[in-house]
Each structure stands twice: as structure tokens, then as C-alpha cells.
């Protein structure tokens, strides 16, 4: 047990770092800094591009949706106008034929 305690004490004994320790750490940090900065800048640029592409895509898609919607409304109104016109013409033609038939079959009604 004493031996273990001794070893532990020895391991935990406060030791002074070598004199060039600070310089070495700072040098190492300085060495890694530009790489990290580049990596961070790259990520930021990529995010910017991704955001720009996404925004453009959203803009195009929403623009297209609005255009499609408007086109559908215009087409729908035109179709409705044509439908009502067709109904009017068909109705008139059938009434006219009916009137002709009625005129032939019961001339006295028409003569009144």
C-alpha cells in the first residue's frame, strides 16, 4: 500500500514546465490558426452559396406557382366565357329549330 501511495505522490508532484513550454504551445497554436481560419471561411462561403441557391430556388418555384395559378385563373375564366357562349348559341339554335317545327305543325299558333 505504501509503495502505491509513493508512486501516486510522485506522479502528482507539481513539476515546473520547461522554459520553452509557453513558446512551444504558442508556436503550435499559431501554426494551426490559418488552417482553422481557412476551414471556417470555407464553411461560411459554402453556407452562403447554399443559402443563395436555396433562396433562388424558392424564388423561382414560388414565382412559377404564382404564374401557374394566374394562368389557370385566366384560362378558367376564358373557358367559362366560352362555355356560356356555347350554351347561348346552342340554346338559340334549338329554340329556332323548335320554332320552325312549331310553325309547320301548328301554323295557327304562330299566326296569332
Amino acid at each position: 500500500m505504501n509503495r502505491f501511495e509513493d508512486e501516486l505522490k510522485r506522479a502528482l508532484t507539481r513539476r515546473q514546465p520547461s522554459e520553452d513550454f509557453t513558446a512551444r504551445v504558442l508556436a503550435a497554436a499559431r501554426r494551426g490558426e490559418p488552417e482553422q481560419k481557412d476551414r471556417r471561411n470555407d464553411r461560411r462561403a459554402w453556407l452562403c452559396w447554399a443559402f443563395a441557391v436555396l433562396a433562388a430556388l424558392l424564388l423561382v418555384l414560388s414565382g412559377d406557382a404564382v404564374y401557374q395559378h394566374r394562368t389557370r385563373i385566366v384560362k378558367g375564366h376564358e373557358a367559362k366565357r366560352q362555355l356560356l357562349l356555347a350554351m347561348r348559341i346552342t340554346g338559340k339554335e334549338l329554340q329556332q329549330v323548335r320554332w320552325h317545327v312549331r310553325k309547320i305543325s301548328t301554323p295557327e299558333i304562330v299566326a296569332q
Binding site: G76, L83, L84, A86, M87, I89, T90, L94, Q95, V97
Partner: protein, 183 residues
């Protein structure tokens, strides 16, 4: 092998509907009449356009009636021309349509010929007891109107529309009243 069968099936799918269809085709000459006409109307509404148009009809009684009428239709086609003078169209243009309206599918239910040169004909296409199509040909000296309604149609429903939406109500005054309402 599977690809060949697929191609054959696809080919048949494309060919058969066209071969089996008995659509009325308006002759190409008819479109040229529009250049000579004082006024012309060209309505071509297939089922998809009819559905689209139905979606834009309101809920008032007239529109509801039209909606009900067109809900089963496959198409409405109208060509109408009004000319300044007589003889601007030839009867062969009309004959090209008449020749397509043959038995057993089609039958002429009304044919009116007047000495003034006003000829009106109504053809019906019947499938069993149902009316499956209607063609109206109205050939007057200065006017030519062709109407083709494709699909199941109830003439009574069409009749109910008279007096609404500018469709004249059948009265004693007949066409005279019609022309007044038109103006």
C-alpha cells in the same frame, strides 16, 4: 422480350382510342371561313376545359344548372359565322359534317328547309335510351352555325336554360324575338 411487349402495348394504347373514336371532325375549310365572315365564333371545349370552366361557375341557380348540364359532357364544339353577303360558304362544307352523322350511331331528328334558304338540322347520337351526343346545323344564306355537344345530354335540362343567360324563351314571336334579344 418484356421491352417489345411493352412497346406493342404502348403502340396499341396510342392507336386504339383514335381508331375506335367516332368524334365529329369539323372540316379544315371551316376555319378559313372565319377570314370571310363578318363575325365568327369558335368554341372548342374538351372535357378538361369543361371541368376547368365548371370550376369557375358560381353557385347562382343559372350557373348551377349549367354545371349540372356539363358535368357529364366530353366536349362542346361550336363554329358560327355571320357574313355580309350571301354565298360566302359552300354546302360542301356542311356536307363534310353531314357525312359523318350516319346511322347506326346518329339519327336526324329534325330537318327544316325553308324557301328562304334557311336549313336547320338536329342530329342525335343514341346509346340505348340515352342521348350521347347532339349536333345542330343551321345553314342560312348569311349565317352558318354548327354545334356539336359530345356526351350524355338531357334536352330537357338544356330547355330549362331558356330564358336565362341570354338564351331566348320560346314564344309566339319566334326568331323575331330572338334577333331583338341578340342586339
Amino acid at each position: 422480350m418484356r421491352l417489345i411487349s411493352f412497346k406493342i402495348a404502348l403502340g396499341l394504347a396510342l392507336i386504339l382510342p383514335a381508331w375506335g373514336s367516332d368524334d365529329i371532325k369539323f372540316p379544315a375549310n371551316l376555319d378559313r371561313l372565319a377570314e370571310r365572315a363578318k363575325e365568327s365564333v369558335d368554341v372548342t371545349l374538351d372535357s378538361s376545359m369543361l371541368q376547368l370552366a365548371s370550376g369557375f361557375l358560381s353557385n347562382d341557380p343559372d350557373d348551377r344548372q349549367v354545371k349540372k348540364l356539363v358535368s357529364k359532357l366530353k366536349g362542346i364544339y361550336v363554329r358560327s359565322f355571320e357574313f355580309d353577303k350571301e354565298g360566302q360558304y359552300s354546302m360542301s362544307d356542311v356536307q363534310a359534317i353531314r357525312s359523318q352523322l350516319k346511322a347506326p350511331g346518329w339519327s336526324r331528328i329534325v330537318g327544316v328547309r325553308s324557301t328562304k334558304g334557311e336549313n336547320s338540322e338536329v342530329y342525335l347520337k343514341k346509346t340505348g335510351n340515352e342521348i350521347d351526343g347532339l349536333v345542330v346545323i343551321d345553314a342560312e344564306p348569311k349565317e352558318l352555325t354548327l354545334v356539336h355537344i359530345d356526351g350524355p345530354i338531357n334536352p330537357e335540362e338544356l330547355n330549362e336554360l331558356s330564358g336565362h343567360m341570354g338564351i331566348p324563351k320560346l314564344g309566339k314571336s319566334g326568331p323575331e324575338k330572338r334577333s331583338k334579344e341578340e342586339q
